[in-house]
């Protein structure tokens, strides 16, 4: 590439480095690098090494302890059972709404704001609202009882459903905003072209928009899944933290702050991270089967 023949003098070393992307602008990376090392890499590797230094037994005994105890091992399944459907629902619910809202129309800003408001609420406020609304004496059950649809209140809090609803409420705005931006990245002319070629709206969506949107949906799913997988406050506040919503982060919390067994807590945290990575790897592998290039839109 440099084109410097054997007899010709080489370009100045600074130019040759710049050609490979090494120049003074690299200094701009320093703050971010310090940040990542101090706040992510150091704690991560500290936790990783800590997990191999259990209070008793060999380096892997804490991992063995987690997997040999069915009560502990079960937290993985419990968490997946909440996080996967919640993430999936968030993505699936976001698609039609974002699809309808991608054009320009009057009041779009207002609707978007309303849909995004739950982000600002925080988990505790959401949990409080859920308890008031879905609890045994909440409006929802009172309406059901008054209309004689049920004989006794439906239990929707302090169990699986409470946590599930909480995750949907807090996770949906993220999913919606991401899907909306992916959708507006698809050139609307493509659908118009498909229409002139004889495709009705259903086939326009399934043949053109959806395949182009799939990579974005996969990414959105990964992000909302990670958010849902690390669920903690709502599992305690609107769930049943001793039983069916004893999620994996709760197990780690109990190990660290009730038993003061940091190595074991670190091991659980590592297992948690590994499970997340497996799911993300599967989703991203599926994503790579789709077309991921330019889709011609403004996004």
């Amino acid at each position: 590439m440099s084109g410097a023949g054997p007899g010709r003098p080489l370009a100045h070393w600074q130019h040759r480095l710049a050609e490979r992307g090494v120049d003074r602008q690299l200094w701009l990376l320093v703050p971010a690098l310090v940040f990542v090392i101090a706040l992510f890499l150091y704690p991560f590797f500290y936790g990783l090494t800590l997990s191999f230094q259990p209070t008793t037994g060999g380096p892997f005994s804490d991992y063995a302890r987690f997997f040999s105890d069915s009560y502990e091992r079960g937290t993985i399944w419990i968490t997946l059972r909440i996080a996967l459907p919640a993430a999936l629902l968030n993505v699936l619910a976001a698609v039609p709404i974002a699809y309808r809202m991608r054009g320009r129309f009057r009041g779009k800003r207002l609707v978007t704001t309303l849909l995004v408001v739950p982000i600002t609420l925080g988990t505790v406020l959401t949990a409080q609202g859920l308890l008031n609304f879905l609890g045994p004496t909440g409006w929802f059950n009172r309406i059901l009882l008054a209309s004689n649809l049920v004989d006794e209140p439906v239990r929707l809090t302090h169990n699986y459903w409470g946590v599930f609803f909480s995750l949907v409420i807090t996770g949906f705005p993220f999913a919606f905003l991401l899907v909306l931006s992916y959708l507006s990245g698809i050139d609307p002319t493509l659908e118009r072209a498909a229409a002139t070629l004889g495709a009705d709206w259903r086939r326009r969506f399934t043949r053109i928009t959806l395949p182009l949107l799939m990579p974005g949906l996969a990414t959105t799913f990964c992000l909302t899944f990670v958010l849902a997988f690390s669920v903690f406050p709502s599992a305690v506040l609107v769930g049943n933290p001793a039983g069916e919503t004893r999620v994996i982060s709760l197990a780690a919390y109990q190990a660290a702050y009730e038993q003061y067994d940091y190595p074991y807590a670190s091991a659980i945290a590592m297992i948690m991270g590994f499970v997340e990575l497996v799911i993300i790897a599967v989703v991203l592998a599926a994503r790579s089967r789709f077309y991921t290039g330019s889709t011609g839109g403004k996004g």
């Binding site: 002319t189 498909a194 229409a195 002139t196 070629l197 495709a199 086939r203 043949r207 182009l212 290039g293």
Partner: protein
């Protein structure tokens, strides 16, 4: 889907908010015709095309395919092929899948889809690229895919929205010939939108000139080229010399006009009142340099700017009375030369000037170039 003998646009109008983008377009398209909608940007030509395609609902009017009303049908049920300015190729499909899309939407038998796709690929000479994605093709190849995709299902009407505007000059000429060749071999009725008068003249059987959403003139290329209906059309069709003047005397189709101290004899197009303000329109190539013994419409002028354009020179000259002229000539002239110019009265067109609108360039500002 079925072929028609006549497609009739009846008072087709489209407003955006209060703004009329297209007003009462009446047009009858015969089967097999190549029609060009021509006009400057914002004249409503793309609006008209989108209304035809069904991508824009009409505000008023109707569209008839023989005796069937089609302006109420969604685009997918009109069966018209469309080539978009941006090509709008499906980026996740191969060239073959892109071209086959229209056939697959019609649920044709696999074997027929395969055969007709292969035929269309051959027609646009893309045999070596069928398995590529659109992103791997050059602009001209993408253009050919877009055309093949729009004609493969033998639509009763092909709509083209400035299909050549994203290509470089050389490719544009090649594709122009290609489109003409396709039209001649397939005989598909075509409506072609462009702002390039040369493109429209070379391709179309009939031209529709639009301005501010209204039809200015409908006619053959020859009619538009030689006899624009009003000075706006003349301006658009390459009559670069537009001078404001006053009628001194008129008699039949001939009129003597006074413009910037010159007395000019020309052909009146449309009606005139004596003493009325008129616009005089002359093509640069109709101004002759040193006409042999020409006495009518003779002017003496000084050459100011000369552009070399191959066989010809394009020049600007200023008459002794101060009028700026655009002309083309094969003679060698240089800035500063004194020249004798003349215009054949048949090639000097006189139009009624409209009261309110001023021509964009009254030929007096020095350096007013285009």
């Amino acid at each position: 889907m079925s072929a028609f003998t006549q497609l009739r646009l009846d008072g087709v109008s489209r407003r955006f908010g209060g703004q009329a983008a297209l007003s009462e377009l009446d047009l009858t398209i015969e089967a097999g015709e190549f029609i060009a909608l021509l006009g400057p940007s914002g004249c409503g030509k793309s609006t008209a095309l989108n209304c035809l395609a069904g991508l824009l609902p009409l505000t008023e009017g109707s569209i008839w395919q023989d005796e069937r009303r089609i302006d109420t049908l969604p685009p997918e049920r009109r069966g018209f092929g469309m080539v978009f300015q941006s090509y709008a190729l499906f980026p996740h499909m191969t060239v073959r899948a892109n071209i086959a899309f229209g056939l697959r939407m019609r649920r044709l038998p696999k074997e027929e889809t395969r055969r007709r796709t292969a035929e269309a690929v051959r027609l646009v000479r893309l045999e070596d690229h069928v398995d590529k994605l659109p992103g791997q093709l050059s602009g001209g190849q993408q253009q050919r895919v877009a055309i093949a995709r729009a004609v493969v299902f033998e639509p009763s009407l092909v709509l083209m929205d400035e299909p050549l505007s994203n290509l470089d000059a050389k490719l544009r000429l090649e594709m122009r010939t290609e489109i003409r060749r396709l039209h001649q071999s397939l005989g598909l009725t075509t409506v072609y939108v462009t702002h390039d008068q040369e493109e429209a003249l070379s391709l179309a059987d009939r031209l529709v000139v639009l301005r501010e959403g209204r039809v200015q003139q409908i006619g053959s290329p020859r009619e538009l080229h030689t006899r624009p209906a009003n000075w706006h059309v003349a301006d658009f069709m390459g009559y670069r010399n537009l001078w404001r003047g006053r009628v001194e005397q008129s008699e039949g189709a001939r009129a003597t006009v006074e413009a910037s101290g010159l007395r000019l004899l020309g052909e009146v197009v449309g009606g005139l009142q004596t003493g009325a303000d008129v616009m005089v329109a002359v093509r640069p190539e109709d101004i002759r340099v040193d006409g042999p013994g020409e006495t009518r419409n003779a002017m003496s002028a000084t050459v100011e700017v000369v552009e070399y354009q191959g066989r010809e020179l394009a020049a600007e000259a200023r008459t002794d009375t101060g009028l700026l002229l655009h002309l083309r000539t094969e003679q060698r002239i240089a800035p500063g030369d004194q020249v004798k110019l003349a215009v054949d009265p048949q090639r000097l067109l006189v139009y009624q000037a409209d009261a309110q609108t001023q021509p964009k360039r009254l030929a007096d500002a020095p350096g007013a170039t285009r």
